[in-house]
Amino acid sequence: MRPLLSVEDLTISFGPGQTVVGNVSFDVERGQTLAIVGESGSGKTLSCRAILRILPRTARITSGRITLDDGTKPVVLTEIGERRLRSIRGDRISMIFQEPMRSLSPLHRIGNQVSEVLWLHRGASEREARRQVLQTFDRVGFPDPERAYKSYPFELSGGMRQRAMIAMAMVAKPELLIADEPTTALDVTTQAQVLGLIKELQQETGMALILVTHDLGVVANMAERVVVMHKGRVMEAGDAEPMLKAPAHPYTKQLFDAAPAIPAETAPAPPLPDQDLILDMRQVSKTYTMRAGSGWKPNVLIHACRGVDLKLPRGKTLAIVGESGSGKTTAARIALGAEPPDPGGEILFRATPDAEPLQVHKMSRSQRTAFQRQAQMVFQDPYSSLSPRMRIQDAMTEPLEIHRIGDRAERRDRAAAMLDRVGLNADMLKRYPHAFSGGQRQRLSIARALMLDPALIVCDEPTSALDVSVQEQILTLLEDIRDRHNLSYLFISHDLAVVARIADEVAVMRQGLVVEQAPPETLFHNPQHPYTKALIAAQPEPDIERPIDLKLVAQGAGAPDSWAQAFRFTESVIPSLVEMEPGHKVRCHV
């Protein structure tokens, strides 16, 4: 039997001589999962897009054949006409794009965009489509599918958007699903839920899956076959099991070695010092109003953050982990003044240990300028945070220009040096943001935040799109700078291994509330809160021998009202955060 899809000798280049993908070949069987792993910028995304022929305008497939088996005779995707291709796209092959924010139309409701697939390929009626979509939304872990259905993308959190993309790709039950890093923005329980759903679907319909990911844990749990890519070439390809156990190629080895893991038992760390806080968030809440569909219905209120109290001592790293949509980004944005908190909350910033604390939301112009020089943000969605019409060089030097640092040449040199430090080439300075891979953009975003030598950086999932080796490089860089310049980080991530490595303290959030807070050592080895426990259990490990039970962990901690009495909370009754042991706070009734 022929494989469902086979890619032979695919070569893609931008302009003459700029080959970015060279001689890539792989096959995907029905019902099988092929994982593509590899270095950031190695051409994974381009290879996947080539299958559907959705490439940047300037990209050319210079050679290669991609065939899709049609049961009777194969369809050569690289040769058929647009019209036939159209009937395959979204119907037989669908794709989850890497960057969910930009990939959704900002002006259309999520539900509309997702149902469209059904209208197009299944001829579903509006009601029928809605029913199916809501069902899928529920399965990908939307707590409130109805709300998601009528939301606009900008009203959703990063992870929610990603789930919307996943739902869009899966709702029509395609024969082949190409998932380009589908779970980067998801917390591990939700990730497990989504992966479980995919598996289910594979069993149900025999769907094949091409999974691009950097998370070797996910690979270990999902893939039957693996393709390792590096600099546009396939380094190694084959069945997952032997490869994970004994990588043959040096690059593969290097990659697998770099995979971080939650370190095994260590001594509980002492609580963080409480003096010299660079950032002090007190009672920060945020309520969004979602515009009602019609002029008559009242607007819907969304409590993104509820009474968040976070203290970040100078030179330390405070990590926030938690459920997707739990208000992590919101808290971070408020911390830097990108959005005002609800009245009552205040954020204090102290530039130097002996400086007067300043209220972030009540600064004068000059104070604000000084603050903005010292506090930087790495956005969760790096693509959106780069102006599409600004070359990277300009984007990188902009902070320097704003604060009048250096002359043109100096700025440029600094930008080039910074690119180098995050593992990018200086010759990319003249490119526009869209001409980068997802991981490269994420690194650009980090590099830009570092340009000003700030004192505080808020990193919103800064390494989610990076392969483990580059992630390693970046984390090392961040740690290095922290230690040398006494930098402080507010670090949001869902990757517990990363958090375990970098954080001095971890706050776990769920539904806008901090449910548990402790130094990582304490937290990971003595989790108290059911949600924290569920999280840790859901962390996949890059060990094919120890698969996690996706079904089981996907249930996570369940709904708050199903928790043990001590932790249960409802809309109105919310237990307070109690210090169980020094430096270990848990939200529970005592």
């Binding site: 959705i54 159209r86 669908s94 794009f97 139309s105 900002p106 259309h108 197009l120 900008f154 693509y383």
Partner: protein, 342 residues
């Protein structure tokens, strides 16, 4: 703020603005030296018609033209009693046209539907032609479709309207037996609507629509094309393609909606242009729209008539901007009118 509340709020701002505009309009039409009756008398004398002079004197008193300007304004608006008591705009009295010797309401009422018809046809033409062509020109940029539509569009744009009309009339009459000028065959005037009459109107509309419409259409097309081109590279378009949408549907649903933003902003102009859009064209083409009436009124300083038409257009302008503001919010959910905290 919900859309409904926003609309109500905008409505009251509109009333306020309207009041300001009414003062300005009144002042402006009274800017040129002289007034209707003096001009009229001079004209009558110059052309040797002694017949109308005494009647002009009568009108001066009847309509309080001998009073100071501000009093005239107050009387016109209805804030102050005139020679025959309170009776102004706010009482629904639109005034009297000296030039046509009939109530303003009647004159405007008569030509209004023709005006709207002509301009509606032109607006429809603009949209029907420019929308698909603009989208097509963007999707197929730098192909013959693009170049041809640009060329034809600019040809229309670069030809003075009247010249274009004359050429179309002359050759249209010669080779296609199109009528020259007018909006329907005069025999149908005042007749009930029949299929024949509709046909006559449609045939008469061909040239004016084309003349008024071409420039607008090519303007809209070119700008739409530019905006579309900006959007076509965006990732959400790729998502739509990946869904397997047909290009036409994909383009109109996604990038067009974003590209349409500047045009929605200008929808405010659509309403007033339905009435005043083609003043000069109507004058040269001899269409029985409000345009020529307005121009005559202005030139002869027939103040109540011109003031009313101008106020009417101003009202439509204000309503137009209001509608466009509301539409903008509906078009782009990200838009909020609140200020940015600095």
């Amino acid at each position: 703020m919900s859309i409904l509340r926003y609309a109500v709020y905008r409505f009251f701002t509109m009333l306020l603005t309207l009041l300001v505009v009414s003062v300005l309009v009144f002042v402006i039409i009274n800017l040129p030296p002289g007034d209707y009756l003096s001009n009229q008398i001079a004209e009558l004398r110059a052309s040797g018609q002694s017949a109308g002079v005494e009647k002009a004197e009568f009108l001066r008193r009847e309509y309080a033209l001998d009073r100071p300007l501000w009093e005239q304004y107050m009387i016109w608006m209805g804030f102050m009693p005139g020679p025959h008591g309170f009776s102004g705009l706010i009482h629904g009295n639109f005034g009297w046209s000296f030039e046509f010797d009939r109530p303003v309401a009647e004159i405007v009422g008569e030509s209004l539907w023709l005006t709207v018809l002509v301009n509606l046809a032109a607006v429809l033409f603009v949209y029907v032609v420019a929308l698909p062509l603009g989208v097509l020109a963007a999707a197929r940029s730098r192909t013959w479709v693009d170049y041809t539509s640009a060329f034809v569009g600019y040809l229309g744009l670069a030809t003075p309207n009247f010249l274009l009309a004359l050429i179309l009339f002359y050759y249209g009459h010669r080779y296609f037996d199109l009528p020259i000028g007018g909006l329907m065959d005069p025999t149908f005037e005042g007749q009930p609507w029949t299929w024949e009459k509709v046909k006559s109107v449609l045939i008469h509309l061909i040239v004016p629509t084309f003349v008024i419409g071409t420039s607008g259409a090519s303007a809209m097309m070119q700008r739409l094309r530019a905006n579309m081109l900006d959007e076509l590279g965006k990732p959400y378009v790729e998502t739509a393609i990946a869904k397997g949408m047909a290009p036409a549907r994909m383009l109109t649903k996604y990038p067009l909606r974003v590209a349409f933003n500047p045009f929605v902003a200008d929808i405010g102009n659509l309403l007033p242009s339905m009435v005043s859009g083609s003043v000069l064209v109507s004058v040269v083409l001899g269409l029985q729209t409000i345009g020529p009436t307005l121009l005559t009124a202005l030139k002869t300083q027939d103040q109540f008539l011109s003031a009313f038409v101008l106020m009417f257009v101003a009202l439509l302008t204000l309503m137009g901007t209001m509608i466009s503001d509301v539409l903008l919010v509906l078009l782009d959910p990200r838009i909020r009118y609140e200020g940015r905290e600095t």
